[in-house]
């Protein structure tokens, strides 16, 4: 069984709802794709080469101020459930954890992680430097990852071309190798049916959206991950500024949509959020998707001050600990055991009860 206690906050510091605009923005993530100039990319290198890459990066990381004491999790020595757990904590991609369509863990695929910063190793690129923060914090998150990039880049020969920038396995990441994303809760825009316009607009300004778990994942509980689509031809700062500007606009639209709901359908909205809260408080079985949809209603209700002060941190904790692998690990079940729905409902009731007691 994986030992997540090696991480002081279990790798979940980014969920503590302490960051700016946490009532709307769950987290901000920034990643930089980097490769070593001395090796073929992930799709064309063999096990011994991948081991060398892991060894070299690990050794360089020990001299780093940011990840000098990082914990290293090798995916090829972890059970499936443990890898799912790391993926549910947003610490590794589906591909690295061997959970994608091919469902295999590549040799020497690993995660180095310390606090809110880490490196995925031997994914499609040799290194994926990543930083995660609570709330809407593009600048601060990038600053950390940029610092790590400089530290490692002084010790490892990154593949860089004067014309194309940082070279990546997939040409969609070349140049800056930067992907910044903001996980944002947009129930107001979904309820007012304005969301498709907003999402279409994103495509037209060079941004894209994904679901809760990033690339290839479904939208669950009205959480949308907004990120930059292109990585070449603009500076890192320009990419961040552009994304930041659009996210602020989306936040404004969401706030407006919520005001429209309150103005035009106050009873319907109040009823909807209290029903969601009631179901969560008393249901005896809950699927993950159902829980996420109900939580979305409660989160909206808390934001509109219709429900009293339901703790954001409580809701964030539910979002993580009620995922299939988390519940399965906690109760010794398999991820597809129907009993998970019972355990989920029990855990939700318990946390909401504690939260209600806190509020008096």
């Amino acid at each position: 069984m994986i030992d997540l206690t090696l991480l002081p906050d279990g790798g979940l510091g980014w969920l503590d709802a302490s960051g700016p605009l946490s009532h709307l923005v769950l987290s901000t993530r920034v990643r930089l794709a980097r490769n070593l100039s001395t090796h073929a990319f992930g799709s064309r290198n063999a096990a011994p080469e991948r081991e060398t890459i892991l060894r070299d990066v690990e050794s360089a990381s020990r001299e780093s101020a940011l990840i000098g004491h990082a914990v290293c999790y090798r995916m090829d020595s972890l059970e499936l459930l443990d890898r799912q757990l790391l993926h549910e904590r947003h610490l590794v991609s589906k591909e690295l954890a061997g959970l994608d369509a091919e469902a295999r863990v590549r040799p020497a695929a690993a995660l180095l992680v310390q606090d809110r910063i880490g490196v995925m190793l031997n994914e499609e690129d040799h290194l994926r430097l990543q930083g995660m923060s609570s709330g809407f914090a593009l600048e601060a998150t990038y600053a950390q990852v940029d610092k790590l990039d400089s530290e490692l880049g002084q010790r490892l020969p990154f593949a860089f071309h004067p014309e194309f920038g940082y070279l990546t396995s997939c040409p969609t990441n070349v140049g800056t190798g930067l992907r910044a994303s903001v996980l944002i809760h947009l129930p107001g825009l979904v309820l007012t049916k304005e969301i498709s316009k907003v999402l279409q607009g994103l495509g037209q300004v060079g941004l894209t959206f994904r679901g809760l778990y990033g690339e290839g994942s479904e939208v669950v509980g009205n959480f949308f991950q907004l990120s930059n689509q292109t990585t070449l031809g603009k500076s890192e700062q320009d990419l961040l500024d552009h994304l930041g500007k659009i996210v602020r606009q989306v936040i404004e639209y969401e706030e407006q949509a919520r005001q429209v709901l309150l103005r035009d359908a106050p009873t319907i909205i109040e009823d909807k959020v209290w029903r969601a809260y009631g179901l969560l408080r008393y249901a005896r079985t809950l699927s993950f998707d159902e829980m996420m949809n109900l939580l979305s209603g409660v989160r909206l209700g808390a934001g509109l001050k219709l429900l009293g002060d339901v703790g954001l941190y409580t809701m964030n904790k539910l979002l993580v600990h009620c995922q299939p692998a988390h519940l399965a690990a906690a109760h010794g079940l398999s991820v597809d055991d129907p009993a998970l729905a019972i355990q989920r409902a029990r855990y939700v009731r318990k946390l909401l009860e504690v939260d209600a007691a806190r509020r008096g």
Binding site: P171, V174, N222, T230, G233, S235
Partner: protein, 168 residues
């Protein structure tokens, strides 16, 4: 992923459907998307890489013999165009150097640009690159372009033309 309308062709875009308060994504192929009257401007950003790569070959017919790109084999890692078509991934850093001009066309389609404008990097132990060499102005580039055309060095000319386009 197959198109969920015709269940035959590969999906190249997704329709985001909002019903009640549920958002669902429906994968569609290009033809079905267009028959359903979807705005294909959104589809452009979501088209898989494979479509770009295929399109890149088409575009080449106008400028260069198709065999130039079709015969691509990276001398460093042995990756072929077939590998690139199938996986959408390049094999190694040298693939970028080997692919040259056709790659620029692909990058232009993907990113709307061909030139890195972000942070510069020098590997450990290397002498930092000279900014003067890196940031050539349009006057100098035009002069080099003229010389390249005179010398019938069309590959270099195409590169310089691209750099000029990016500057303007």
């Amino acid at each position: 992923m197959k198109c969920s309308n015709c269940h035959e062709r590969e999906a190249v875009t997704e329709l985001t459907k909002v019903a009640n308060d549920e958002v669902t994504k429906i994968p569609l192929c290009e033809r079905c998307a267009s028959e359903l009257g979807l705005d294909t401007t959104l589809a452009i950003g979501k088209t898989p890489l494979a479509t770009y790569i295929a399109a890149m070959g088409q575009g080449l017919k106008d400028n260069a013999p198709p065999t130039e790109f079709g015969a691509f084999v990276c001398t460093s890692c042995g990756a072929t165009l077939q590998d690139f078509r199938e996986s959408g991934r390049l094999g190694c850093p040298d693939c970028y150097r080997t692919l040259g001009a056709p790659l620029r066309e692909l990058l232009r389609r993907l990113h709307g640009a061909t030139r890195h404008a972000g942070e510069r990097y020098s590997p450990p132990g290397a002498i930092p690159e000279s900014p003067a060499l890196e940031r050539r102005g349009p006057v100098e580039l035009r002069e080099q372009l003229r010389r390249a055309i005179e010398a019938e060095n069309f590959e270099l000319a195409a590169q310089l033309r691209d750099q000029l386009k990016d500057l303007v």
